[in-house]
């Protein structure tokens, strides 16, 4: 009998924990959603219940965002930078990860760890010298500054992630291909890459999300509004003077966050595998 009550109690605690955490973690997004469609008169009245629509919802905030700011421009910039950086990252990280996983024996392991450690060097340390480098290269104020700099943090983690991935592919496959006449590199291109699509896809998504997360570099290297990325454009430019167009601001945040959230969520387990490789056997 005692078992029954204990089971019910455990259930209640379980549901409570989940409820509290979900609310605490997700409510800002619910909030953003509501704010997006709230009329200004509704937003800025302290008596009104903020969780409901006291006045009917409106599209004017979205209208403001899309037509009267450079929001769409920033989204385009971010997408463009994202795609190019993903390409560069793949081009450099995939062969590197393979080489380190297969070809260089003991050194491969050490170099792999060394590369991973560079991921720990933060942008907030490098942004000052890099600002000078970017200026000297004449890339100041353009998105190309970011295209050049971003791979510096997307490559290390991608290499680490892919190394683990390649190691899990049995060597016999490549050996069989080489016995059949392919060179080592040929085996890599024709055998390994086609079966690594999920690992590569993970790297693509992860790189893209890293690009969207950056704040320091974009803030430091780019001043003109037109060339800015969405992560910096929104906080810096959607504040007109002292007035925050909060509703549009919330809309902007929500719209930029959701696709990334969906992408990230699909590939989450892989990312975590990347972080925890070595610690979890």
């Amino acid at each position: 009998m005692q078992g029954k009550w204990r089971a019910i109690g455990a259930r209640v605690v379980h549901v409570l924990v989940l409820f509290v955490f979900t609310v605490l973690l997700a409510f800002p997004f619910y909030w953003m959603l509501i704010a997006t469609f709230k009329q200004n008169l509704d937003m800025y009245k302290t008596d009104n219940n903020p969780f409901l629509f006291n006045l009917p919802p409106t599209m004017e905030n979205l209208h403001l965002l899309f037509y009267e700011t450079r929001y769409v421009h920033w989204l385009a910039n971010t997408a463009l930078v994202g795609v190019i950086v993903v390409a560069i990252t793949l081009l450099l990280a995939v062969p590197a990860a393979y080489a380190l996983a297969r070809l260089t024996g003991n050194w491969g392991e050490r170099l792999g760890i060394a590369i991973f450690l560079t991921y720990l060097v933060p942008p907030t340390l490098l942004f000052i010298p890099l600002s000078r480098v970017v200026a000297d290269l004449g890339l100041q104020d353009t998105i190309w500054s970011l295209v050049v700099v971003y791979p510096s943090f997307t490559i290390p983690f991608s290499v680490w992630l892919l190394m683990a991935f390649f190691k899990s592919i049995p060597k016999e496959l490549e050996d069989a291909a080489m016995v059949d006449g392919l060179s080592r590199f040929g085996a890599f291109v024709k055998m390994v890459i086609p079966i690594s699509t999920s690992g590569i896809l993970t790297v693509v998504i992860f790189t893209f999300t890293l690009v969207t997360q950056d704040f320091v570099y974009a803030l430091t290297f780019i001043s003109p509004e037109a060339n800015q990325m969405v992560g910096v454009g929104i906080p810096i430019f959607l504040v007109r003077g002292d007035v925050y167009y909060w509703s549009s601001l919330m809309a902007a945040c929500l719209i930029a966050s959701l696709p990334i959230a969906l992408l990230y969520n699909t590939f989450l387990d892989r990312f975590i595998a990347g972080f925890t490789v070595g610690a979890v056997k």
Partner: protein, 304 residues
């Protein structure tokens, strides 16, 4: 690149150092050029008088360090960086352990909940923080509204979440925790799901109840993973400037100033590259410590 590699035949050899070097060469080069070189440059700047817009560069020895160490703002920033990070880690580890236990057992709707819980982490830092800036607004804060509704405060004496020093510090720590708990939870889940299910079963048969199994068996087995979560969370909090910049920009009265934010303010906004570089170098000891512990975790795992 493809042409160069195709010329190298391996003839069945497992080690092909030449091909290997050619394949990871470009990546290594990139890293050296864009991380190694700037890092050296940062050190160099710290000992110089570099400024934005000026091409002059002179060696000034420890002058920059001397002046920032004398600055009360700097000392406050160091203290804040440490306090914020430690507070956040403690809260995050406890919260994520509890949450990961709740998410361990499959249940209906778990996927949806996982998606919702992950939002703070996957949304770009700046955008989530802006959301909080509005939630913590002095006048229109949602939290304030709820507290007034339940009569904890009168409508005319509402807390200035970002305007009053202690509240501002708490707010910054909260936002960091809000972002990191999802990340740490998922890492913990990976750790706990790696425990073979027979081990908690054996513990149950041996007579251990839920909490004994948790504290004496599961958590010790998860320590490497907990380590990883702690180390990454440390990095993400200690070296982050975005949250502080957007929420308070170091204010009020430097009470939320942190090292990265100060480095930015000094180096870029204040145009004093040299001082900014010097400030940012103070991140290095913590990074080195974290790197050391990461290596230890990785090494231990190899031995097991």
């Amino acid at each position: 690149m493809a042409v160069k590699h195709a010329k190298i035949k391996s003839a069945g050899a497992a080690q092909s150092p030449l091909l290997g070097a050619a394949m990871f060469g470009p990546a290594i080069l990139y890293i050296v050029l864009l991380i190694g070189a700037p890092f050296a440059l940062a050190v160099f700047y710290a000992f110089s008088d570099a400024r934005i817009g000026s091409t002059e560069l002179h060696y000034v020895g420890l002058e920059n360090f001397r002046s920032i160490l004398h600055s009360p703002t700097f000392r406050q920033a160091v203290q804040n960086s440490i306090v914020f990070t430690v507070s956040a880690i403690v809260i995050v580890v406890i919260a994520s352990t509890i949450l990961s236990l709740a998410l361990e057992v499959p249940f209906r709707g778990r996927g949806m909940i996982r998606f919702l819980i992950l939002l703070p982490w996957v949304a770009p830092v700046s955008l989530g923080t802006i959301g909080w800036k509005w939630i913590l607004d002095s006048i229109y804060s949602v939290i304030t509204w709820v507290l007034v509704y339940f009569h904890f405060f009168s409508p005319y004496n509402t807390p200035m979440w970002l305007g009053e020093p202690h509240l501002a510090m708490a707010s910054v720590v909260c936002v960091h925790c809000w972002r990191l708990i999802p990340f740490a939870t998922v890492v913990m889940l990976a750790g706990s799901s790696a425990i073979p299910k027979e081990i908690p079963e054996a513990a149950g048969i041996d007579g251990a109840g839920y909490f004994r199994t948790l504290f004496w068996i599961k958590i010790p087995m998860m320590l490497p993973i907990i380590n990883v979560a702690v180390l990454f969370s440390t990095i993400f909090t200690f070296t982050d400037m975005t949250v502080v910049y957007i929420l308070t920009d170091g204010g009020p009265f430097d009470s939320t100033q942190t090292l990265p934010n100060l480095a930015f303010a000094t180096g870029i906004q204040g145009s004093d590259l040299a001082a900014g570089a010097a400030i940012s170098l103070f991140l290095v000891p913590v990074l080195v410590a974290v790197a050391y512990f990461m290596l230890r975790v990785a090494h231990r795992a190899e031995v097991v």
